[in-house]
Amino acid sequence: MIEQLLQHISIPTLMCLIPLLPLLGAIANGKMYLFSTRSQWKPSHALSGTIAVVMPLISFLIVAVLFYIAMGLEDSHSVSTGPLFTWFGGTQWAVTIGLKLDQLSLIMALVVTGVGSLIHLYSVGYMSHDDGFAKYFAYLNLFLFFMLLLILGDSLPLMFVGWEGVGLCSYLLIGFWFTDIEKAKAGKKAFIVNRIGDFGFVLGIFFIWQALQPTAQPGDAILSFSYISTHAAFLAPVATAATLLLFLGATGKSAQIPLYVWLPDAMAGPTPVSALIHAATMVTAGIYMVARLNFLFVLAPTTLNVIAIVGCATAFFAATMGLVQDDIKKVLAYSTVSQLGFMFLALGVGAFSVAIFHVMTHAFFKALLFLGSGSVIHAMDGEQRLSMYGGLRKHLPVTFTTFLIGTLAIAGIWPFAGFFSKDAILWHVYSSGHFWLWLIATLAAGLTAFYMFRLVGLAFFGKRNPAGPHHVHPENSVTMLLPLVVLAVLSIIGGWVGVPHAMGGHDHIMTWLAPLFPTALHEAGNESTELFMGLGSMTWGAIWAIIAWILYSQHRGWADQMAARFKRCYTLLVNLYYVDQIYDAVVVQPLLWFSRSVLWQTVDAVLIDKILVGGSARIARLFGRVGTAMETGLVPHYVFLLVLGSVVVLGWMIL
């Protein structure tokens, strides 16, 4: 019996289970929630929580097994289900549904299911007091389903399914506490801004589709990644347009200029959601997409430059906005935007594997930081303002220690995870000859250390703000502490898989990913320079960290004085460069006005209804009136008209 069962569990079956298990979990919890709203029966937290945590955990184990299997494979390191069924298509081409795991998607899937499982576990504690417990986990599991579809999908349309699906879950989870209309609005904003990006994504697909059509035999899955990569040469003429449009999609999902505005608002969702979706996984989808299509992007140097510049600009501007935030989650949100900018910068200079390396380490430490902030918020009865905190290190020792580890990692201090990936980005930017981008990115890296240590200083050091909550709940939930500890460990050792040769490492992750990516677009730099610059970047980060620590935990008055001195600058930053207001005034309001006053009330109501439809009715009536008027019943009138008519007709014939 069991043997029979095992025979049926082939690699494709296992692969299908990876996304399907979370989907099953989502359906189970969703049903339980819906039924509980109508009856006395309520699913126990233990039941919903167990289902929700176990499903991603099994997925994680399956990915781990497949990772092990793929490592053993000689040539390709990839496993795939092949086409499972045809979704739709034309006469010459088709879109087939299939899953594929290769070096890139394996790393992503490990991170998503691994970090995802931890955050599910954490949520069991964090959401334990919430009425919508089962609903929450239904959404969270559904998110994992779509995220895994995005990663495992072997074609652009299937990736797009996951792409929009994660956007949906993000929408649902940001607006999870929908009775607060601001939170619901934040969710809507996220979805619509993402749709603007998806507009680009879809059109990018169309460019590729059109260019590849002449090459296709009937039934070819021309939008699958393998087909696109083998026919990349045909795409050269449209590469720039297609990649720019796809990158527009990436700026939406991965919160880059000009579409980053939704991510800070997305912090309205429960904090574990911010950790999972808006820090560790979903927002890196744009980076994953560019890396997945690297063979296409290298055909378009213009696009790569655009990506590098946008990434660098986002990294810098978001970091400046993070400097002055009072909401603990907003600091982390801008930090996420900024870190995503770093990843795009890496992609833009052609260092694809470095970008993925940073995706991974960032997932560890940023998830850790968010979960840590969640612990703080949980302990402080939902208070999120840094100014209401202070001196928390004594009350929340585990949270403090792990949060500090995360902070050291993101600040780029050796030997924490962030050091290796961020240093690799800076090094590749520098050695590829983009001096100015390197300079700005380095500045942004310094700011990162600054705002993170500002946060640590304000929250964990100094004195408690008496205006804040009086009682700090002790940290005693194992489900919440365990993920913190595991992620803290990962934030320390996670970078060691990418220690560069210059520092005596083996650069495992680059070697692992190398077959997927083009060999470096530029000459590798000097190893001693690399080592020197690594030391430099760490020192640079440490200096900013120390400054922030002094300002915000030792001499808080100094910080206020500085804010007063640079008042204009400070106001600009506090108001986030007025970007939301500008978008509203330039795009949203004019569009609403145009729709209402011009299209609806003028074109539809007056022009078409009154003038065209009503006008033709009036003309018809006019003819009717004329006709009626002529029927006077007086013979002389008729004779007159008869004569008049004859004259006209005769005149017509003669002339």
Binding site: L34, T37, W87, G165, K188, I192, R195, F199, I608, A617
Partner: protein, 494 residues
């Protein structure tokens, strides 16, 4: 018996609802409530008959051309025939109709309180008109069915409609009659010029003089464009949809509009291929304008029924975009979109009818925060709204995607502008959802709303299941009509 049914399955399907009209008419007024059950029964067996028809279609299908043909002389002296037959597209349209009518009847179960007999009878009569129009292969027969569905609809809106029903019904009648009359003239021009032919299959083979083609095409196109509706002849639709009773709105949005697009596909385009080529830029432009303008105007509507009505203008723009692109992808997408728009918008109107029956208001501002009060209703509404917004994995996505591909292949600028409609689609639907369901319950009356009852669940669950099925496996819909689509494109010279 069975062979006889099999060979007349199409006629049986078309006229079964008419059989149901008889007992309803004979029902004494005091047992009037029973008319609902009779109507439901006959619409259900019509649905079953149409499924049998699908099965027979699968068996008999010839790759191109029509099956299940029945041809009898009707007015021999004039060469008018009772000539019906279906291809894949008409098959889907017929099944869509027979699916939505029972749901519309069930939706109207408690809504209609006066003159139930007449109401149910008229619904069945509309169904006959719709089914006939989808199956007719004789121009004059088509015209008869076309008018047959219009008249009952006029009464449905005018008698059981909302506050401004008379105005809405008049507008509907004037608009469509205007188109119909032009079409009638064009039918007789074609009839005269083709040597007194009404048989569509023979007419396909005839090439009319390009000059005449253009005029005839314009007349047909105007009649069909009003029905679709294409911008700028759409203004009857918001009024009619909004004022109609729920069942009327479901039938209007679900099937009525489809006859317009179907008319293009079956008659206006293949009869006048040269004219279509000339008019193609115009058709494409109007479709794109309809997509964007419909969505923009939907966004700012204060009345939720009117909002969905304008969204139909936008969605039907996608249909016409695909159809007029004359590409395989575009036409495939148009057919999918026809079916899926029927399902999703039909479901949206049912949902609005459900909430309206409790609150008696359609104003969005009268709602707010009701997700907490009616979780099932909210879940269903959001699900359907997402399907309507073209979320991948649900039914509307593939159709939208393919029509956009068609538009893009015809000219990039068309595809690009039309794709803006996808952004706007999310905007107006999610904004609607936010204003109705999220936030605090502001209106006292809404604090005691009742959630979905079993009858309403029976209505919605099949539609929601179909949304998933057609989203994941649209080949169920595409497979029966691929051959028909390529025949159509051959007729168009592609």
């Amino acid at each position: 018996m069975i062979p006889w049914i099999a060979s007349h399955i199409l006629t049986i399907t078309i006229f079964l609802p008419l059989v149901g009209v008889l007992p309803i008419m004979m029902l004494p007024r005091r047992f009037e409530e029973g008319s609902r059950a009779i109507a439901l029964f006959f619409s259900l067996i019509t649905f079953i008959a149409s499924l049998a028809m699908w099965w027979l279609y699968q068996i008999n299908a010839v790759d191109n051309g029509f099956t299940l043909i029945e041809q009898h002389p009707w007015i021999p002296t004039l060469n008018f025939q009772y000539f019906v037959g279906i291809d894949g597209v008409s098959l889907l349209m017929i099944v869509l109709t027979t699916l939505l009518i029972p749901l519309a009847i069930l939706g109207a179960w408690n809504e209609i309180k006066t003159r139930r007999k007449e109401f149910m009878g008229l619904i069945l009569l509309t169904e006959v008109g719709l089914l006939g129009a989808f199956a007719a292969l004789d121009l004059f027969l088509f015209y008869v069915f076309w008018e047959l569905m219009l008249i009952p609809m006029y009464f449905l809106v005018g008698i059981w409609g909302g506050k401004h029903r008379i105005m809405a019904a008049m507008k509907l009648l004037i608009y469509t009659l205007f188109g119909s009359l032009l079409m009638l003239v064009a039918i007789f021009v074609v009839y005269a010029k083709s040597g007194y032919q009404m048989n569509l299959i023979d007419l396909y083979q005839m090439k009319l003089d390009p000059g005449i083609q253009l005029w005839c095409f314009m007349a047909f196109a105007l009649a069909f464009a009003i029905k679709v509706p294409l911008w700028p002849v759409h203004t009857w639709l918001p009024d009619a949809h909004t004022e109609a009773p729920t069942a009327g709105s479901v039938i209007l949005a679900g099937v009525f509009l489809k006859v317009g697009a179907y008319g293009f596909y079956r008659i206006a385009m293949p009869l006048f291929p040269d004219a279509v080529l000339q008019a193609q830029p115009l058709l494409m432009s109007l479709s794109v304008i309809g997509i964007v303008v419909g969505a923009l105007v939907a966004m700012i509507q204060p009345d939720m029924k009117r909002l969905i009505a304008y969204s139909s203008v936008s969605h039907m723009g996608f249909v016409m975009l695909g159809l007029a692109s004359l590409t395989t992808e575009g036409v495939e997408g148009a057919v999918l979109q026809l079916v899926n728009h029927g399902i999703s918008t039909g479901a949206l109107f049912l949902l609005i009818g459900i909430i309206y029956s409790r609150t008696h208001t359609r104003q969005i501002s009268d709602y707010g925060g009701i997700a907490k009060v009616v979780p099932w209703f909210s879940a269903a509404f959001i699900f359907v709204a997402l399907s309507s917004a073209g979320l991948p994995g649900l039914n509307n996505f593939v159709g939208e995607f393919l029509t956009l591909m068609g538009g893009f292949a015809y000219g990039k600028v068309y595809g690009v502008i039309a794709a803006i409609g996808v952004i706007l689609g999310a905007a107006y639907l999610l904004w609607l959802v936010e204003r109705v369901f999220f936030g605090q319950v502001t209106n006292e009356h809404n604090k005691t709303l009742k959630d979905l009852n079993p009858r309403e669940l029976t209505l919605l669950i099949p539609l929601m299941l179909l949304m998933v099925v057609f989203g994941v496996y649209p080949k169920l819909l595409l497979d029966p009509c691929m051959g028909s689509i390529s025949t159509f494109l051959q007729l168009m010279g592609r």
